[in-house]
């Protein structure tokens, strides 16, 4: 259970193709896959490079700095897990490094009204009780 959301929120399953990423989160490291053969970055984690079909990759730690690519503000509690969090925001963040991959996350430590496309943000870590550490973002002042 992350602090931005309440009890009952969906939790990621650690799967064979994704567990290295989530283990990195526990150490507060944002680890992005880079193809060993052609150097292309990809997210979310997959077993094979879509550009050159290599199955070999390395994990590169991102500095966690990026900008908001798009966002929504949700006042309607469609799920029990967001009942206490509405209105909440969800944002697509494009990283400045690691091939400018995009991640779905939330912009915290600011008002929803302040979130905008192009907003500069950096990663903040949110440890939770269910052994998942979530990556969220906050504005760079």
């Amino acid at each position: 259970m992350g602090k931005y959301f309440g009890k009952g929120m969906p939790v990621p399953a650690f799967e064979r193709d994704t567990k290295d990423f989530w283990e990195g989160c526990k150490q507060h490291k944002l680890l992005i896959q880079r193809c060993d053969q052609c150097g292309t970055y990809r997210f979310n984690p997959t077993p094979v490079c879509a550009h050159c079909l290599s199955f070999k990759h390395s994990l590169v730690e991102s500095a966690g700095i990026g900008e908001v690519w798009s966002f929504i503000v949700v006042p309607h509690p469609v799920h029990p897990g967001v009942k206490e969090s509405v209105p909440y925001n969800a944002a697509i963040v494009q990283l400045n490094d690691c091939g400018s991959v995009k991640l779905t996350s939330n912009v915290i430590n600011c008002k929803n009204e302040e979130v905008h496309i192009g907003m500069a943000v950096k990663v903040v870590w949110e440890d939770s009780e269910d052994e998942v550490t979530y990556y969220r973002f906050e504005p760079i002042k």
């Binding site: 992350g2 959301f5 009952g8 929120m9 969906p10 939790v11 990621p12 399953a13 799967e15 994704t18 990809r42 997210f43 979310n44 879509a50 690519w69 798009s70 966002f71 929504i72 503000v73 949700v74 006042p75 309607h76 469609v78 799920h79 029990p80 897990g81 967001v82 969090s85 909440y88 925001n89 969800a90 697509i92 991959v101 995009k102 991640l103 779905t104 996350s105 939330n106 496309i117 998942v132 979530y134």
Partner: protein, 392 residues
Amino acid sequence: MSWPMRDQTAIVGIGETEYTRWGQIQRSEFQLCCEAITKAVDDSGLRMQDIDGFVTYSVDRNNPMTVAQTLGVKQLKYASLYPGGGNSTCGVIHHAAMAVYSGTADAVVCYRSLCQGQFGRFGHGAARTGATRYGGSNAFTMPFGVLAAVHRYALQARRHMHEFGTTSEQLGRISVASYANAQRNPRAVMYGRPITLEDHQNSRIIADPYHLYDCCQENDGACAVVVVSAERAKTLKRKPVYIMGAGHGAGHRDGGDEHSRPASTWTSSGFVEIARDCYERAGIGPNDIDVAQFYENFTGQVLMAIEDFGFCKKGEGGPFIADGNIDYPNGSLPINTSGGNLAEAYIHGLEMVLEGTRQMRGDSTSQVEGAETCLVVAGPAAPPSSALILRN
């Protein structure tokens, strides 16, 4: 090289149950499925023993074998599930046409039965299943509050607004046009309930920038379509509606995955390649389309699909709509003449193929005068998507 299947197959029968708000129909979803199929077969003039193929969506609970067995079909020669949900609306017809054209089957029924009152509302997204742990790409969206379709698609609409200055009022015009068409259609769930642009703007926010009236309905109902060869169609009682062009699939990495899509696909409904294929196969272009049915999961995705199909330039969908081009009867491209998913009913879009068929038969409640071609576009931004060009 022209497409060998052009005009070689035809829709010859359509059938549907009543459409209602979710939770209103007491008969089982499976019964509705069987009712819609028997009506479509009756409409065609064929008998059930003539039917030898069934196609539905992979998310349909009523699978082809169970349906064939229950309806006493003599021999099943073709059964198929098009992968996914609303994206399948036209893909099922395309599959049926391929089965018929190849000689695999003679008469194929496409169907969709959907009782959101009996099996959970799509609008509830992740809450519908009650699951707590999610794998695959959902693991990277749902824990962050992207829980339902409206969240995914509102993110895309926001980006279109940012890049091209598209406004909520322009999106609202799609909803107003669909509701206006529903006022002439007694089948429509929103018959007798017109809305104004003000109503759209004042409706509650579901996921900003989307208001309630940007979202499709949740309904109970079923519908079905019969496809046979063009040759056979000429011997049956209804005016054949020919499948002139069809296309399905997805462009490069045009996935539902929010993270990895190329920047250009964020402002597209994913039809660029499908549109090209449909036009090439039909041998016509956007200027030759007289009327269109665009699956509305959400209004912004309709706007982007209109751009993808070349009815206006990329980024100009907002002004195109605001200028009245999509309005019946005077617009250059009247769309969703039954009221569509927004105002007729959301039977996962298959009801829009029925409306396309009516337009080509000349008996729509919002009939476009002299219409000879109808484009039908399935669920946008949810590949593999699909589209059809029908002609009379």
